[in-house]
């Protein structure tokens, strides 16, 4: 009898605590995060826009692995894995009891489905390269999946942790673009086009519970409006604050905190290596000698950014400092140009896509290049135009762009890539790198590759794009760095 009473008291106390808790503290823990670009849709396996991942990666969708804020690979839907001796077979053990947001259960068949869908001929996955080496994906049993690849891949586990490889359910795959259904700790609630996306806590999530009950992503394209929205208290944070010139205001205000970190974005002055006079390495070296990186960082990004000497992220363990390969030296630059046959200088076009680093940076670079006699005509283009002119038809001389994919030095091994750089030695190194799994060997190869790019001044290597996030001071758990495209909110919480 006393036991029953004890139990009743215990339960009612528990109930009271819960009600009390709901009445006082949880005014549900909500967060409103600002973003500049609105995603065109919400399926990260069907499009390249980073904005898609920024809303759904790690929040709504999960993959077999996930990337944490240091760039390391962690378990996600796969709790453990084994790699065969020859590096060709990966066996993943899957998490139990996981369900998709629509209630259907998750098992190995969903993994097979997702990978086959990504590899299919008619797939619109933007990173087909991740899936290209795969020869077979098999469900050994409902909790085990085996993936075979054609040759060993050093970064295979990292690649499948990216947003393009997240796991979807066959029942909902086709409608994920407008109504994403995943296995993540947040589930999709609604999308008011042009305005915001709302996510809510997934109570059925198997894994570490998140502290937030609701997350709203608000799309604000105008940097001034973004600034005003933060200052007016309308937003709790802006993960990639678009106005570096205003950061000092937030840093000085105790109500806010500014998180400074790095991204995977190598901001470069792209040079059309196949077009005269830029096919002459002396001309490219001259350009390198004219660049004053710090001036660009200060002028365009108000000091936020880390100079780079090659196409590699400075925070990466394989990075080698090559900043002084062609240090700033106007006289040498002029001499090189003269030697290459252009003592009078060169005239060229400079196509600038929309971002600030490009438009402002472009003006500063134009002034710097003028010092060695290169006169540039600045042409502002929208992204669509840039993709058409610069990227697809390679109809350009110079451009500026930030390449945000992680570990993408391999693009220089493709002579058809818009830089049109064709160096067989470099290509051989990258080929080898792709199939090397030993860390030390990979590092050596990566460094060799970096040195070649710097020596040949393939592009003007400017700076690593900084990640500057502005958040309310009483928030914690946000990622200062962006090792992968996304806005992982799983660890974010209010501190009071």
């Amino acid at each position: 009898m006393t036991q029953i009473i004890e139990k009743m008291i215990k339960n009612s106390l528990l109930a009271a605590a819960m009600i009390g808790g709901t009445a006082f503290g949880a005014l549900s823990a909500e967060i409103r995060v600002g973003m500049v670009l609105e995603p065109p849709h919400l399926d990260p396996t069907a499009g390249a826009a980073a904005a898609i991942d920024e809303v759904v990666y790690a929040n709504v969708f999960e993959g077999l692995t996930r990337i944490d804020q240091t760039g390391a690979v962690r378990p996600a839907l796969a709790t453990a894995w084994e790699i065969s001796e020859d590096g060709l077979i990966y066996t993943f053990t899957l998490k139990d009891g996981v369900t998709f947001h629509d209630g259907t259960s998750f098992d190995a068949d969903d993994v097979v489905f997702s990978f086959e869908r990504a590899r299919a001929d008619n797939s619109t996955n933007a990173q087909k390269g991740i899936f290209a080496p795969i020869t077979a994906v098999t469900a050994v049993d409902p909790s085990t999946v085996e993936i075979s690849i054609a040759q060993p891949q050093g970064d295979f586990l990292f690649n499948i942790g990216r947003g393009d490889a997240i796991i979807v359910a066959p029942e909902t795959a086709d409608s994920n673009q407008s109504s994403p259904v995943g296995t993540g700790p947040f589930k999709f609630v609604q999308w008011n086009q042009g305005s915001r996306v709302i996510l809510e806590k997934n109570d059925a999530y198997v894994g570490d519970p998140v502290a937030l009950d609701k997350a709203t992503f608000v799309f604000i394209s105008d940097p001034n409006a973004a600034q005003n929205a933060m200052l007016a208290g309308e937003l709790d944070g802006f993960a990639n604050f678009p106005a570096p010139e205003s950061l000092s205001i937030f840093e000085a205000d105790p109500r806010y905190q500014v998180l400074r970190g790095s991204t995977e974005g190598e901001t470069i002055l792209s040079i059309n290596n196949a077009k005269a006079p830029f096919d002459d390495v002396r001309v490219r070296k001259a350009i390198a000698h004219a660049l004053d990186r710090q001036s660009i960082i200060d002028g365009a990004m108000f000091g936020y950014g880390t100079p780079i000497g090659t196409h590699f992220a400075p925070h990466h363990p394989y990075y080698v400092d090559l900043l002084d390969t062609h240090a700033r030296d106007i006289e040498t630059g002029k001499a090189l140009l003269a030697e290459a046959g252009y003592p009078e200088g060169i005239k060229a076009t400079f196509k600038l896509p929309p971002p600030t680093y490009s438009r402002r940076g472009g003006q500063i670079i134009a002034a710097q290049l003028r010092e060695i006699g290169i006169e540039l005509e600045l042409i502002n283009v929208e992204w669509g135009q840039w993709l058409e002119d610069v990227f697809k038809t390679k109809n350009y001389d110079l451009s500026i762009v930030s390449h945000v994919e992680p570990f993408d030095i391999g693009i220089y091994a493709n002579p058809d890539y818009y830089f049109q750089y064709d160096n067989v030695i470099f290509q051989a190194i990258i080929e080898k790198l792709n199939v090397t799994t030993d860390e030390a060997d990979r590092k050596t190869l990566a460094q060799e590759a970096q040195k070649i790019l710097a020596e040949e001044a393939v592009n003007g290597f400017l700076f690593q794009l900084a990640k500057t996030g502005v958040w309310k001071a009483n928030l914690e758990g946000m990622w200062p760095n962006s090792p992968v495209e996304g806005n992982d909110l799983t660890a974010v919480r209010w501190t009071n």
Binding site: S246, I364, E382
Partner: protein, 289 residues
């Protein structure tokens, strides 16, 4: 009804205080613009980061901007570029719109109907949208902005010209001219046009000031004048980002735009007020927006 002698018109106009203010203001802006074509205190294509955001000083009267360029020089070239865009847009509108309006007034019948429908269509077409389409098709630049704004000046001038002309066609001496064998075109050129000219001048000053505002709006969304060239609108847009630290960056171009628009509007108003009321009533519509 004779054409009023232009000197006596000017004398009457100067009696109006608004006209006087308008003339002085407009002349000042024109002067700055013209001088900038040959000389500015400092070059505007340099970049001098260490020197940016300097405040007023003897060397830099209005300080420097976010790239270290001299604000006063920028202002001069900005005025010149804004004026250039607005002027050419107004010219496009007038050169196409006025003949259309005169023809519509003299033709009646289907030609008039077509012209009126064409007018309606342009009025109905969202101006900013067409500017975006034009600049997307042909690239963003000051010239394309001119064309986009110019297209929207056409129906304005057509309307004014037609309105003014319509009331003239009922006059006796025009009937006499027709009876004497002159063709519509000749009548338009010889009798109608000179009498609506003053109306058109008034409208032109208004469209000019509107053109500057339109260019500013286009620059705000990135479709007007392109850097490294500058215009008042572009200066204002870029200054917004620095408003919290350096408000003067925005006040300078903003004030310039306001004063410019007011000057030209006052000029137009003064001219209109001095004209024969009958003429002004029939023709002028301040179509702005």
């Amino acid at each position: 009804m004779a054409i009023e002698n232009s000197t006596s018109l000017l004398r009457r106009a100067m009696a109006h205080p608004s006209f006087r203010v308008g003339v002085i203001g407009s002349a000042a802006f024109l002067a700055l613009a013209l001088v900038s074509l040959v000389w500015t205190p400092y070059p505007t294509d340099i970049v001098d980061i260490p020197n940016r955001f300097a405040s007023f000083s003897v060397t830099h009267w209005l300080g420097t901007d976010y790239l270290g360029r001299d604000q006063f020089s920028l202002l001069m070239t900005g005025i010149a570029n804004s004026l250039k865009v607005a002027l050419l847009a107004m010219a496009i509108g007038a050169m196409i719109g006025v003949p259309l309006g005169l023809i519509a007034a003299s033709s009646k019948g289907w030609l008039e109907a077509v012209i009126l429908r064409f007018n309606d269509f342009i009025f109905a077409f969202p101006a900013l949208i067409s500017a975006i389409i034009i600049t997307t098709l042909f690239g963003p630049s000051a010239i394309n902005a001119m064309v986009a704004i110019g297209i929207f000046n056409i129906p304005v001038f057509a309307r004014v010209a037609r309105g003014g002309a319509l009331s003239l066609w009922t006059l006796e001496y025009v009937d006499a001219a027709k009876l004497s064998g002159l063709s519509n075109a000749q009548i338009n050129v010889r009798h109608i046009f000179p009498n609506v000219a003053s109306l058109l001048i008034v409208q032109a000053t208004i469209q000019l000031s509107l053109g500057v505002l339109a260019e500013a709006g286009l620059s705000y969304i990135g479709l007007g004048t392109q850097p490294p060239e500058t215009s008042l609108g572009l200066m204002l847009k870029e200054a917004q980002s620095f408003f919290f630290g350096f408000p003067m960056q925005a006040v300078i171009p903003g004030l310039a735009i306001v004063l410019f628009v007011i000057s030209f509007n006052l000029l137009g108003d003064g001219l209109r007020d001095t004209l024969d009321p009958k003429l002004s009533k029939a023709g002028s519509i301040n179509v702005a927006g």
